[in-house]
Symmetry: C2
Subunit: 212 residues, 2 copies
């Protein structure tokens, strides 16, 4: 290499100089671009930090909603003081498999959301870190899917419990177990709130991931 | 330093040439970096194009699954040739509100997926376009949420239809309406397949959006 350059310089003196200035010009060309990129990066950093802080706040709210759903459904329990047309007179969430599924899934989601808090904080400290952001996004999507699934399954049971299903001859039991029904309805609403927050978390992550 | 070099150039002509060639080396230094960036971009472009093609294939499969779910549930219809313990002997999807919701949501999802095909193709042609990718991701997430919701709600009803719910005194009706039950179960499975594909579409979009 060195030898070649020496050889070239020995033959023409002006040309390499002219080329040099051109080369320099070309070499200088990316410099302002680089400065702009830096400025954009700083600007982006601010925006991404804002998104990351909003992410943490939304995550904390989702944890509250998730734990509310779990605990409301978990403690839904009603013992009737009299006999009814039903054989049993003790309504509990684990009598209905769907409500059991609901409670377990909401507990899992709340637990995951608590464990995800450190990653969310890492995203605030390092707004440009892609790894934790991508991990959070994928896990949030899965958490949202299972939470929506549990909430909808429970909602359809609660609907039948309230209104019955005359075509399938399923009688509503909410008139007998009023408190139990109200508690499970509240749990379903809380779970849907948690799922909606997870939906927004996924969309926020998409904005944080996108290159501007 | 510069002065020193200039001083040196005044005395000898070869030296500045040598310096020139050195300067060239320095001036050219960012060039290979630029080439690498270009190469990375090309490489990225290839990767993103691959993701975009996989996105289209997955989208087509999700359309098939969504339409299958809609049509199977929509045509689920059974008339019993004899009277049973039920008052009616004609089972149809629109007798059960949850199945109605299921059919409508799956139709909406399938329709959305068909409409999203041009955007998916744009993402193949322009792998670096962020707008359509972000739009697809957000709409896919929402579509996944409603599909999972419909599938789970229908699944919980199908579960009760198969197994009954002794605690709430709801009798299973699948022994009477066997074909209807099998059709609705298949529809639920197809819908879950569509939802899973949408989940993968969201995760794919996350990878396509991330800056490497």
């Amino acid at each position: 290499m060195d030898l070649d350059h020496h050889g070239a310089t020995k033959i023409t003196i002006e040309e390499p100089k002219a080329h040099d200035s051109k080369g320099k010009g070309v070499a200088d060309a990316p410099a302002p671009v680089k400065v702009t990129t830096k400025a954009t990066k700083l600007h982006q950093g601010g925006g991404k930090k804002g998104i990351a802080i909003f992410d943490l706040v939304l995550r904390l709210s989702a944890i509250a909603a998730g734990f509310a759903a779990t605990s409301i459904m978990g403690t839904a329990d009603e013992i009737l003081p009299f006999f009814t047309q039903f054989l049993q007179f003790h309504a509990q969430y684990n009598n209905v498999p769907t409500f059991q599924f609901f409670t377990i899934v909401n507990a899992i989601t709340s637990g995951y959301l608590v464990l995800s808090l450190p990653f969310s904080i890492v995203c605030i400290v390092r707004p440009h870190a892609i790894g934790p952001r991508l991990l959070l996004m994928i896990l949030d999507t899965v958490a949202m899917a299972i939470t929506v699934s549990a909430a909808s399954a429970a909602a359809s049971i609660v609907y039948v419990a309230h209104n019955g299903s005359p075509y399938t001859n399923w009688n509503p039991f909410c008139q007998q177990f009023n408190d139990f029904c109200q508690q499970s309805s509240s749990a379903v609403v809380a779970s849907f709130v948690a799922a909606t927050m997870l939906l927004f978390l996924v969309i926020l992550s998409a904005f944080a991931l996108k290159r501007i």
